[in-house]
């Protein structure tokens, strides 16, 4: 009780140094805990990009590459999948549903993806949430187009706007399919996944823009196909897709299906299980987070050292105080305990304040982080790792207090009663 009283009064007496020390520890702890929060949030956002899909299938190639173009909209496939091959798998008895993806076109830097109704019905993300249309309706006609939430927000498009789609992925296509005006019929709810950054049309829509382009070059004069002609067609042929998402009739069939698809003689395909592939990919890019962790560890070390320095330098000014306490009968243990207690209180206050900073920061920044980076960091109790960090900082604080405490005791003993101002 006496020690606590003394420590409190003494810290209060040096309010400025005390607050600065507490602040520096608080900032270190906030960084450490915050980095851990962001790390967990990142990993969760990442692994929740797709859910409910058992397999993602594309032309034969690397797992990561398939994941990148099919899920994250980065890079492009090596080859396409013939329409009839997809259809065969779609009708396979072990397959419950598929979502076809036809990639390769863009509008002002955003990917245009050809798909069908399954996308709106079956696509799931973050723990099974379905895609929802915020305004309008899903694309069903050849020139219908649905915008991801971010595309709509960035480009300022609304329902009824007419849009040209670029062939290839450059931001300003020099070969615009501007004879094929698409119309915005729907805008999707924000999902905080790559879905927000894509534009969705029908498979037929993708085929229509490529009519006359079968050779890969613009149609020769006289061979152009215009919108009226397309609309007049009974059925628009879809010859190929890029990849498809697949739901199996039962989870148990997934592995068998994966093997069957990957070893199919008919067409070289690769099938990946999203959870497994995402985890593998995270391991690959997760080194950055270790770096972050190391840095925040050093910051904590610096914070503790700062505390050590501030206690240590204050000792000289407190020699007299220590000598008085000794003269009045405070034994070595009391003197050491007093300083260790002070250091411990500093680090405990600092740690508590730091955790407070993290929660306050999350409350303030959460909407911005979600909107800007699609990063969802849930506000919840500290996890075990974070508790361990905070505990370690407090313990380190107490231990750090031992150094000046022992020094103070020695000095006090030496000064004895003969202390002069």
């Amino acid at each position: 009780m006496l020690l606590l009283h003394l420590a409190r009064q003494s810290l209060a007496n040096r309010l400025l140094t005390t607050s600065l020390t507490v602040l520096s520890i608080a900032l270190s702890v906030a960084l450490l805990v915050g980095v851990e929060n962001v790390r967990t949030g990142m990993r969760e956002s990442f692994s929740n990009t797709v859910s409910g899909t058992d397999l993602i299938v594309g032309s034969r190639g690397g797992t990561i590459q398939l994941l990148l173009y099919a899920v994250f909209g980065m890079g492009s496939p090596v080859a396409n999948i013939p329409h009839e091959v997809w259809k065969e798998w779609d009708e396979h008895p072990a397959v419950a549903w598929t979502i076809p993806y036809s990639l390769g076109d863009s509008h002002r830097g955003f990917r245009v993806i050809g798909t069908n109704d399954s996308f709106y019905e079956r696509y799931r993300y973050r723990g099974g949430q379905p895609i929802a249309v915020a305004e309008g309706r899903p694309a069903s006609g050849v020139f219908d187009l649905v915008l991801g939430a971010e595309v709509a927000a960035r480009l300022g498009y609304g329902l009824g706007d007419r849009i040209a789609v670029t062939h290839g992925m450059s931001a300003v296509g020099f070969m615009n399919h501007d004879d094929m005006p698409f119309e915005v019929v729907g805008i999707l709810e924000r999902t905080l996944t790559p879905v927000d950054r894509a534009i969705y049309v029908t498979l037929e829509g993708i085929s229509a823009i490529h009519m006359g382009w079968e050779s890969g070059a613009p149609p020769m004069p006289g061979e152009e196909v215009d919108a009226e002609e397309v609309l007049a067609m009974d059925e628009i042929p879809v010859s190929q897709i890029t990849s498809f998402f697949l739901g199996a009739e039962s989870r148990a069939l997934t592995l068998q299906l994966q093997r069957d698809i990957s070893t199919s003689e008919e067409e070289p395909l690769t099938a990946v299980i999203p959870g497994v592939a995402l985890a593998e990919m995270w391991r690959g890019i997760g080194y950055a987070e270790d770096g972050l962790r190391v840095i925040s560890g050093f910051v904590v070390l610096v914070g503790i050292l700062g505390m050590l320095v501030s206690i240590y330098t204050s000792l000289d000014a407190r020699r007299r105080e220590m000598a008085i306490l000794r003269a009045l009968g405070a034994g070595p243990r009391r003197i050491v305990s007093l300083l260790v207690l002070e250091a411990g209180m500093l680090s405990a206050f600092g740690a508590a304040l730091g955790v407070g900073f993290v929660y306050a920061g999350l409350l303030l920044l959460q909407p911005w982080l979600e909107g800007r980076f699609g990063l969802q960091i849930p506000i919840r109790m500290l996890d075990d790792v974070q508790l361990l960090y905070v505990g370690a900082v407090v313990v380190l604080g107490f231990v750090a207090g031992l150094v000046p405490a022992v020094k103070a005791y020695r000095t006090a003993l030496h000064d004895g009663l003969s202390v002069r101002v």
């Binding site: 006496l2 009064q9 003494s10 105080e321 003269a327 070595p332 009391r334 003993l413």
Partner: protein
């Protein structure tokens, strides 16, 4: 070795700081219980060293020193700390108050640190503090910060701290050097009254010979100490 009435008894006491020359060599020193002794010594005559030995901060390397019946030379450092804390009230030259505590907490400090001294109080710590403060005329100042007090007030706080819990021996190291003549006498009167009430022994050290006549007995350190001679 020591009779009941002896408070401080030194025989062939010598002391030297590590690596330094001998600064004290006292063949004989006796202070009896309830005596009020004035110890005169100019600066540099080893006053503070002698007080350090009596208070148990320094350990006598040679000779015998008995304080309150205990052989100080034979006690361990923590045991000397306990002896000082429990039985000796110390009034410092510079008063040595803890700047961040208020008057009440400063006065109460020794009895809060030492359970043995707390047990000798009649009543609670707060009552004892109020009582001691009343005796020294500082009862109005109990909640003040010590840094806001005048020199005379600080001196009385230091005295109240030393007498609280009625230690058997009160050692005062030039406590009046910062006071003017009138205040010195007033302060000494207060101190004497308290010492008489509690039955404590008073060892008062000063270079100011003018105070000597107020005491039962006065000793001259240069005469006691063969080093200075």
């Amino acid at each position: 070795m020591t009779d009941e009435a002896s408070c401080v008894q030194a025989r062939s006491l010598t002391f030297a700081y590590p690596g330094g020359p001998t600064v004290l060599d006292i063949p004989e020193l006796d202070v009896r219980s309830r005596e009020r002794v004035f110890l005169y010594g100019p600066s540099g005559s080893g006053k503070t060293t002698l007080l350090g030995l009596i208070a148990g901060v320094l350990r006598p390397p040679a000779g015998t020193l008995h304080v309150l019946g205990r052989d100080v030379g034979a006690l361990s450092s923590p045991a000397r700390d306990r002896l000082r804390a429990a039985h000796i009230g110390y009034v410092f030259q510079m008063f040595n108050l803890i700047p961040y505590l208020n008057v009440r907490d400063n006065i109460a400090l020794p009895v809060r640190i030492t359970a043995e001294r707390r047990r000798r109080l009649n009543g609670s710590v707060d009552e004892a503090v109020a009582d001691a403060a009343a005796h020294l005329g500082i009862e109005e100042l109990l909640d003040e910060r010590v840094t806001r007090l005048s020199v005379g007030q600080q001196q009385r706080v230091a005295a109240a701290r030393a007498i609280l819990g009625a230690p058997e021996l009160i050692v005062a190291d030039e406590p009046t050097s910062a006071l003017d003549m009138d205040r010195r006498h007033a302060f000494l009167e207060l101190l004497f009254r308290n010492v008489t009430e509690t039955g404590s022994t008073l060892l008062f050290v000063s270079h100011d010979l003018g105070l000597a006549e107020l005491f039962d007995r006065s000793l001259s350190l240069p005469e006691l100490n063969r080093v200075g001679a």
